[in-house]
Amino acid sequence: MRNSYLWLAQLVTGVLIAITLGIHMVWMHLDTILNFLGVELSDPTSWISMIQRSKEVIWVVLYTMLLSFVLYHALYGLRNIIVELTPSSRVKRITTWSIIILGIVAFAWGSCVPLLLLSR
């Protein structure tokens, strides 16, 4: 049932991306509507606001989760497209490991900055 679990994770990460990206979009780009609803934000896309958020654990966790969901969802989808184009098991194996390494490197690269900022 390995493929089914991997595919189920693809579906679940799709839903989680919609939620976490939705929070990001609302907070960053719909601040006018939030103001109307009583949530006061002062220019959330400014540099100072971003640095301020990077010191809050909840935002760092949210963005790290969003990064991991997007990486899994996109890279597993990309792997499936490539694997479908070839019957060669060797090419499939190389593709899978390349995608895994790419995912780990991208996650480490993307998550190290907010984690370092948080630890300062």
């Binding site: 049932m1 390995r2 493929n3 089914s4 679990y5 595919w7 189920l8 579906l11 499936n80 694997v83 479908e84 184009l85 019957p87 499939k92």
Partner: protein, 281 residues
């Protein structure tokens, strides 16, 4: 009696003889077409009057056997089920079904189709092997339970869904829409208990998760079967099972033999009265 009017239609037919040709080519034939003629009628006219070497597979002429699937004007059809007039074209291009190995002219090798069909174990599987080996009675099934998978039993294994499927075009190992729809047909059958065993076949690199839900199989099926729908229902069963939310039910029990039978209707009287005393010969 007024003679029926006919018009000339050009049949561009792909020809390929593996013994003499290095690659396929197109031959043109002019066929007089009358009202009601099917593409298969046109091909039979060519074979009987113009070129007896033309090869194609046909049998029932009424969309039951699934032999005459072919690519007619770049869309897979059953030749016997396609009226020439409904195509509204003065030229017909007829090629063999794609995504299957070519044997000769319009004949493709359906072995991969049947092998994949066989791989999903298209028969009732149960744990009570003694009942399966020596059946004592029927397994119970209500009309509502039959309705859940009835449309998928209409598959005639013509290979048209496979030739329409974009995933089968790129991935030769893909367990095709025909096999997946038949897998659902047996998993949804209340008499069956082989779902777990069949799911091992689906859960592979080239299994059910490679269906992109293009829906081309359902659009092309000449029997109105909806393989794309079956695949989605099968995915739901598979996800429910791995998420452990599926309601596992026991397979349908054996129906006890009826204790009361309707009396047989009396045999009708012979219309020609025979003398019981008369001796034959």
């Amino acid at each position: 009696m007024k003679k029926e009017e006919s018009r000339q239609i050009v049949f561009k037919v792909q020809r390929y003889n593996p013994e003499t040709d290095s690659r396929p080519h197109i031959d043109k034939f002019v066929v007089p077409v009358t009202h009601g003629m099917t593409v298969l009628d046109g091909l039979l006219y060519i074979k009987e009057n113009l070129d007896s070497t033309l090869s194609f597979r046909t049998s029932c002429r009424m969309a039951i056997c699934g032999s005459c699937g072919m690519l007619i004007n770049n869309y897979p059809h059953l030749a016997c089920h396609t009226q020439i007039q409904e195509l509204h074209a003065s030229t017909l291009t007829i090629r063999p079904l794609p995504n299957l190995p070519l044997i000769k002219d319009l004949i493709v090798d359906l072995t991969p189709l049947f092998e994949k069909h066989r791989s999903i174990k298209p028969y009732i599987m149960r744990r009570d092997t003694s009942e399966m080996d020596n059946p004592t009675a029927e397994f119970s099934q209500s009309p509502e339970e039959l309705e859940r998978f009835l449309q998928f039993t209409y598959c005639i294994k013509c290979g048209i869904c496979v030739s329409a499927c974009p995933t089968s075009a790129t991935d030769k190992l893909f367990l095709n829409p025909q096999a997946l729809a038949q897998c659902y047909r047996y998993c949804a059958d209340t008499r069956d208990d082989g779902e777990q065993e069949r799911f091992q076949m689906l859960d592979t690199e080239n299994g059910i998760w490679h269906c992109h839900l293009a829906g081309a199989c359902s659009d092309a099926c000449p029997k109105g079967v909806d393989p794309a729908f079956a695949i989605q229902l099968l995915k739901r069963r598979l996800v429910a099972r791995i998420a452990k939310v599926s309601t596992v039910t026991e397979p349908a029990p054996v129906v006890p033999p009826p204790t009361q039978c309707k009396p047989k209707l009396p045999f009708p009287e012979f219309t020609v009265k025979r003398d019981p005393n008369a001796r034959e010969g």
